[in-house]
Amino acid sequence: MNLGARSMSTVRSDDEAFEDLFTAEYARVVGIANRVLADSHEAEDVAQEVFIDFHRLHSATAQYAPAWLHRAAAHASLNRLRGARRRQKREVAQALEEGERTLDPQKQLEVDEDRRHVRAALSRLAPKPAAALAMRASGLSYAEVAQALGVGIGQVGTLLRRAEAALRKEVTRGTSN
C-alpha cells in the first residue's frame, strides 16, 4: 500500500491510519513472535495483543510506530516464553515419550532437545540481547533492530554476539549432559 500517495489524496482518519499500519507490519510482528515462541498460533495471539496495546496508547501516524511494534513483539513473546518455562518442562517429558515412537528416534530427539534448550536459554537471557536476537533472526535489518531498541547500529552486533554466545554455550552444555 502506498501510504504517501494515499495521505496526499485524502485526509486519513486515525482508524484508516491504524489499518494501514496493521497491514504493513502485521506479518513482521507475527514473524518476530513466531521466532521466539516457535508456535504460530501463540505468535498470532501476541500480535493481537501488541496491536491492541499500540492502538490504545499511540497514534498510528507516529513515526516510531514500526519500531515500537517490533520491540513490543519481541518483549511480549519473550515474556510469554518466560511464563511458559514451567509448562515446557512438562512438554519435554511428553516429547521424550513421543520421540521414542518416531522413525529415527535418536536423531529426532536430539533436534527437539536442542530447540527446547535454545528457547529455554532464550527465556533466561537479559531482555535486550534476547530481543535483538529475536528481531534479527526474524529478518529485521541491523538498522531496524537498532531503531526498535533505541541503540546504535554498532551496539546491535554486541547484543547479538552476547545472545548467541550464551545460547551456544547453553545448548552445548545441555546436550552434553
Binding site: Y26, N34, S40, A43, W68, H75, L133, A148, G157, R161
Partner: protein
C-alpha cells in the same frame, strides 16, 4: 590498529555495511581477528539454525477482523507503563506525567466538592497496567482541555528553576558519594485541566465496548472537574537517559536520583459533587474490579494523595519522613526506590536507582 571488537566481528557475519573500510582491511590481515571471526560466525550460524521455525501463515485481513471484533473489556495488554511514552522529551516530563496522573486519581476520588481538595498525607493504590489504561480512557467520557498548559522547561541552575516555578528548589544536604553531582533542573508552571463530562461521548464509548451506559445522574452531562497541578521543580542527578522507543518498565534506566517538589494537586467540580463523579467513573465499562476495590478501600480520600503503583513492580510501606506520614516504594536492592510525602500542601518525592534506606535518609535531610 586495535583488534576488532566482538560486536564488530559479529556484524561482519551478516551486515554488508560492516564489511568495508579499515575494519575489513584489518580482518583481512589479522590472524587473531580472523580466528575470532570464525568462532563468532560459527555461533551465529548455529544459533540461526536452532532458531529456525516454519513460517507462520499470515492472513492479514482475517487477523484485522479478529482484532476489530475483540471487545475492549477482554483485551489483554503486555506489561508496560502507559506513562512512559516513547519520545524525545526529557525524563522530567515523564515525572510530570506521573504527577499529573496522581492528580487525576486524586481528583477522581476527592469527595468534597465545596472545598478545594488538598491532600495532606499519601497512600498507595496497587493498580494493574490495565487499570492505568482505564484511567487514560477518561477522555472517552468527556472532553479534557488544558485551560493552562503545563509549561515545562529545563533550567541550568536552581535559581533559574525557582524563577520559572515561583517556589524554592529543594536541596539535598547529604548526597551519597556514589551519586553524580551533575544536576539537571526542570521547572513546571502551574497547569489547570478541565474535564467536562459528555453524556453523548460516554454513551458512544460504552456502546463501543458492547455495554450499556450506566444511568446518568442529574447534572452529570456537562459537569466539570477542574484539576490544578504544580508548580513543580524537578532535579535529576546523574546522566540523563531518554526513554527509547517502546520503552517498558524493565528497560527503563532510572536516573541515579530524582528529587521533585510540587504544590499538592487540587480538584474542584461543578453541577455535581466530586463524589458523584467518582461513583460514575467507577461505574463505567472498562474500569476493573481491582481498581474499584482499591479506590473504595481508601478511608478518607479528601485528605489523601493517592499514588498509583503497578502491582507487579513495587512494594510499598508507610514511613515517617520529616515528621509526617509518607510512603516508601521499592526495596533495598538498589534497583529502584523512592519516598513520597506531603507536608504543608507540598508534595515531595525522592526516587532513583538507590536503596530504600538511602532514599529515606535523603528525604529526611531534604531542605
Amino acid at each position: 590498529m586495535a583488534h576488532l571488537t566482538d560486536g564488530t566481528l559479529r556484524r561482519m557475519v551478516d551486515d554488508p555495511d560492516a564489511r568495508a573500510g579499515d575494519d575489513a582491511a584489518h580482518l583481512e590481515g589479522c590472524t587473531e581477528c580472523r580466528g575470532r571471526f570464525e568462532g563468532i560466525s560459527d555461533d551465529a550460524h548455529s544459533v540461526a539454525s536452532l532458531l529456525a521455525v516454519p513460517e507462520a501463515p499470515v492472513e492479514v485481513a482475517r487477523a484485522f477482523d479478529r482484532l476489530r471484533s475483540t471487545p475492549a473489556s477482554r483485551q489483554r495488554s503486555v506489561l508496560r507503563l502507559p506513562l512512559m511514552r516513547p519520545s524525545s522529551r526529557p525524563v522530567v516530563l515523564a515525572f510530570a506525567a506521573v504527577i499529573a496522573g496522581v492528580a487525576l486519581v486524586a481528583g477522581v476520588v476527592a469527595r468534597d466538592y465545596s472545598l478545594n481538595y488538598t491532600p495532606n498525607t499519601v497512600t498507595t493504590v496497587p493498580v494493574t497496567v490495565a487499570d492505568m489504561q482505564a484511567l487514560s480512557q477518561l477522555s472517552n467520557y468527556g472532553d479534557v482541555t488544558w485551560t493552562r498548559q503545563p509549561q515545562l522547561q529545563a533550567a541550568t541552575s536552581a535559581s533559574d528553576a525557582e524563577a520559572l516555578a515561583g517556589m524554592t528548589a529543594p536541596t539535598v544536604s547529604n548526597l551519597p558519594s556514589t551519586i553524580s553531582t551533575n544536576i539537571t533542573y526542570g521547572a513546571m508552571t502551574q497547569a489547570e485541566a478541565v474535564f467536562t463530562f459528555s453524556a453523548a461521548k460516554a454513551q458512544a464509548a460504552a456502546a463501543a465496548q458492547g455495554k450499556a451506559l450506566p444511568a446518568l445522574p442529574a447534572g452529570m452531562d456537562g459537569a466539570t472537574l477542574t484539576i490544578k497541578v504544580g508548580p513543580a521543580i524537578g532535579e535529576i542527578y546523574g546522566d540523563l537517559q531518554k526513554p527509547a522507543a517502546g520503552s517498558d518498565i524493565s528497560q527503563m534506566t532510572l536516573p541515579q536520583l530524582v528529587v521533585v517538589k510540587s504544590s499538592a494537586p487540587s480538584a474542584t467540580s461543578t453541577q455535581v459533587t466530586v463524589k458523584q463523579i467518582e461513583d460514575y467513573v467507577l461505574a463505567q465499562p472498562g474500569i476493573t474490579p481491582e481498581l474499584k476495590a482499591a479506590l473504595n478501600a481508601i478511608g478518607d480520600p479528601s485528605t489523601t494523595l493517592l499514588i498509583p503503583i503497578p502491582v507487579q513492580y513495587a512494594t510499598s510501606k508507610d514511613v515517617t519522613v520529616q515528621g509526617v506520614k509518607g510512603v516508601a516504594l521499592g526495596d533495598n536492592t538498589g534497583v529502584g526506590a523512592g519516598v513520597i510525602w506531603v507536608k504543608n500542601g507540598v508534595v515531595y518525592a525522592v526516587a532513583g536507582s538507590i536503596k530504600q534506606d538511602d532514599a529515606i535518609t535523603i528525604a529526611n535531610n531534604l531542605k
